[in-house]
């Protein structure tokens, strides 16, 4: 409506055109791909780079580690799949953490709460003790985590306690609960997922199971095709009705990127990565992570609840005055955070092939927060997406994996990850500062 009419033709005389060009995301105003690219580049130079730093980071990690790893193993099919499996736990926990970060809160308990969920599931499917079916164990584990989130969220909202302290306490408590839960049964504290029992097998395969190559190609084509059609029709409908929409070229570019990534992932996964025999196929964990990503993206970007999460993170008082039940939304975010952490815990248990008392939940949560922030989610609330958690998780996983390949000691891995996190929060703080000073300068 407004596009062809006055709103675009007149300019605020107090704001210079250049400043405005940087402040406004280029996909909103660009009429062509070239124009979009110039606008995007102007924003990058002004320090508002979106996901660019994390993509650059991923490329850098790939180049450096491929160059220096023995036999350039880093980019081999086997290692890339391995890398994804290692990163999956960080990704899911980072997506969990996003719910807290978007509100400007923090959840320090995701590591131990998720791991406790993992222990519960592993204990429940043991054929010699609990003998639950795999689905019952999974449901029980994630519901337990959701319940923990509800408790923590209630303490934060009803008693107005600091989420930092509540979840720090929660992390400690569930470290203890985890150890108690591990001690049940005749496993000497090491309940494992190895064995032929089908329920054990399902949990083990969450991380290690693979999908038949033919099926994975078909599913990939169907999914990418559906997503492409959705994007295409949505954007062209908006263009036709004169609503704000990206230029055709950008829509096509997005679709092409999705297709390339999808084809690359499936193609790499379908290369035989075994030293002896055959091991090929997309691991189950990839569709699991993508499903979590898709569901939470729709929830946060396309529903009222998601809109309220962003509004509360951006301006809690404005949200309250708009009639949003802030306490309820915040509590639900803690529920969803812990629930997602439960999924992460299941993947973690599956990755380890069981659970033991050397779970380092404290380190997991720091990696989760680091992954979310590295991916571009702000610690100050209101800015970020679950996708950022996935990208950041890949960065953390890449560093971890690359250093492991190089046989670099764990202390250096901590130091490098810490430095990367510092860079990420610096970018976050700087872009936030430039955004605020940009607008105050023109008041």
């Amino acid at each position: 409506m407004a596009r062809a009419e006055a709103p675009e033709t007149l300019h605020d005389p107090t704001a210079s055109a250049d400043a405005a060009a940087i402040e406004v995301p280029p996909e909103l105003v660009a009429q062509s791909l070239g124009e979009w690219f110039r606008g995007w580049w102007a924003r990058v130079r002004a320090g508002q780079s979106g996901v660019l730093p994390v993509i650059v980071g991923l490329v850098l990690i790939s180049i450096v580690f491929t160059a220096i790893s023995p036999k350039h193993l880093f980019l081999s099919a086997g290692n890339l799949v391995n890398l994804f499996q290692q990163s999956a736990v960080f990704m899911v926990l980072a997506m969990a953490e996003t719910f807290a970060l978007l509100l400007g809160e923090i959840d320090l308990s995701v590591g131990f709460v998720g791991a406790t969920g993992g222990v519960i599931a592993v204990q429940l499917v043991q054929p010699v003790t609990a003998r639950w079916p795999w689905w019952g164990a999974i449901v029980a584990a994630v519901l337990f985590c959701a319940f923990v989130g509800a408790l923590q969220g209630t303490l934060v909202t009803r008693l107005r306690l600091s989420s930092l302290i509540v979840t720090l306490a929660g992390g400690l408590i569930f470290n203890g609960v985890l150890l108690i839960a591990l001690a049940f049964g005749p496993f000497s504290g090491y309940p494992s997922l190895t064995g032929n029992n089908p329920n054990l097998q399902v949990l083990y395969k969450l991380m290690w199971g693979t999908i038949d190559p033919t099926i994975s190609w078909i599913v990939m084509v169907v999914l990418v095709g559906a997503l492409a059609l959705l994007l295409w029709f949505n954007d062209s409908r908006r263009r036709r009705s004169g609503l704000v929409a990206p230029p055709v070229g950008l829509t096509l570019l997005k679709i092409a990127m999705i297709a390339i990534v999808a084809i690359a992932v499936v193609a790499i996964s379908n290369i035989n990565r075994a030293n002896i025999g055959t091991l090929a196929g997309v691991p189950w964990v990839i569709p699991i992570v993508l499903a979590v990503l898709a569901v939470w993206t729709v929830l946060l970007q396309r529903t009222r609840f998601g809109r309220y999460v962003y509004a509360i993170g951006g301006n809690r008082e404005a949200a309250r005055r708009a009639g949003i039940k802030v306490g309820t939304v915040v509590t639900w975010c803690f529920v969803l955070c812990s629930f997602t952490a439960g999924i992460g815990g299941l993947l973690y248990a599956s990755y380890l092939g069981g659970m033991s008392n050397n779970v380092n939940g404290g380190q997991l949560v720091l990696y989760a927060i680091a992954a979310a922030v590295i991916g571009g989610t702000s610690l100050f609330g209101g800015r970020g997406k679950v996708l950022h958690g996935v990208l950041g998780g890949l960065v953390i996983g890449g560093i971890y994996n690359g250093m492991y390949l190089m046989a670099i000691d764990v202390q250096w891995q901590f130091i490098v990850t810490g430095l990367v996190l510092l860079v990420a929060v610096t970018i976050d703080a700087l872009s936030r500062r430039s955004a605020t000073s940009g607008s105050t300068a023109r008041v």
Binding site: P7, T14, P25, L243
Partner: protein
């Protein structure tokens, strides 16, 4: 209080008040914030509510907005007695408030802000197309035309644009009374003009507008009527032509005009317009 009654009587309004307040009292513990306040807000008129700090302007505004509940007194909406117990009540009547800094979420775009709390849905998902169309119609009808894209985040807007969006948000909901809290505070000259023009456009649409302001320049530029609070009492209320700068300042600072007889003498000064 006789003064107020007389003043109101002496300048019979062209239309009936949209909202009539009679004998409003509000206290916080021992502090009497509002005592026996009467106020008339007329459709198609801009009423400026003036007063020094602590005069009770924002308490009165919050009482009308339903954020505070009055202890005594009555509200009449279009002549009928009504109760305002919550922001929901006032929203239902068609009262919208534009708060100084608290109105918008910086990280959301213009459309998202304008529909915040009242999003339209289709199949349980947000109906972005519909909301965007409605928001851009409202902005166009108010001639808020300087924004580059209605999908840009509010953080990237200038102060005047932000205020314009906040005002546009308030009129989207078939509101009949819009209250603006210091709409031009912290704005430059050009931006102030932009916002005041917008306020006039609200009046021209037939809305009742109340502007809370310290700034006498703005008040005299835009207001049709003036209401002056002093220490929780309504000390003068009349058409703006009945006042000059000097008298307004005196009412605001001393609660009266012609220092000797603040309560009884106002008639001669302000009744004749």
């Amino acid at each position: 209080m006789e003064l107020v009654a007389q003043v109101v009587k002496d300048s019979p309004p062209a239309t009936d008040p949209l909202l009539k307040l009679r004998g409003i009292e509000k206290h916080f513990g021992p502090v009497q914030a509002l005592s026996n306040v009467d106020l008339d807000l007329l459709p198609g008129q801009i009423t400026a509510l003036c007063g020094d700090n602590g005069a009770g302007k924002s308490v009165l505004t919050k009482c009308i907005a339903g954020i505070y509940q009055v202890d005594h007194g009555q509200f009449f909406w279009e002549g009928r007695p009504v109760q305002i117990h919550s922001p929901r009540d006032s929203a239902r009547l068609g009262i919208e408030t534009v708060y100084q800094d608290l109105a918008l979420a910086d990280n959301l775009d213009i459309v998202q802000n304008m529909f915040l709390g009242r999003e339209r849905l289709r199949n349980a998902l947000l109906d972005e197309d519909d909301m965007e169309r409605a928001a851009s119609q409202t902005l166009a009808s108010l001639r808020v035309t300087t924004v580059r894209s209605i999908r840009q985040p509010v953080a990237s807007l200038s102060g005047g644009q932000r205020q314009s969006v906040a005002v546009a948000k308030a009129v989207m909901w078939n509101s009949k009374l819009v209250m603006l809290d210091e709409p031009t505070a912290a704005l430059g000259v050009v931006q102030t003009k932009m916002v005041l023009d917008l306020v006039r456009r609200l009046r021209d649409r037939g809305l009742a507008v109340m502007v809370i302001s310290h700034n006498l320049n703005d008040v005299f530029e835009v207001a049709d009527r003036l209401a002056i609070l002093h220490l929780g009492r309504m000390v003068a209320q009349d058409r703006v032509s009945a006042f000059d700068r000097q008298s307004v300042v005196e009412y605001m600072t001393t609660g009266g005009f012609g220092k000797t007889a603040p309560a009884g003498d106002g008639k001669g000064q302000h009744g004749s317009s």
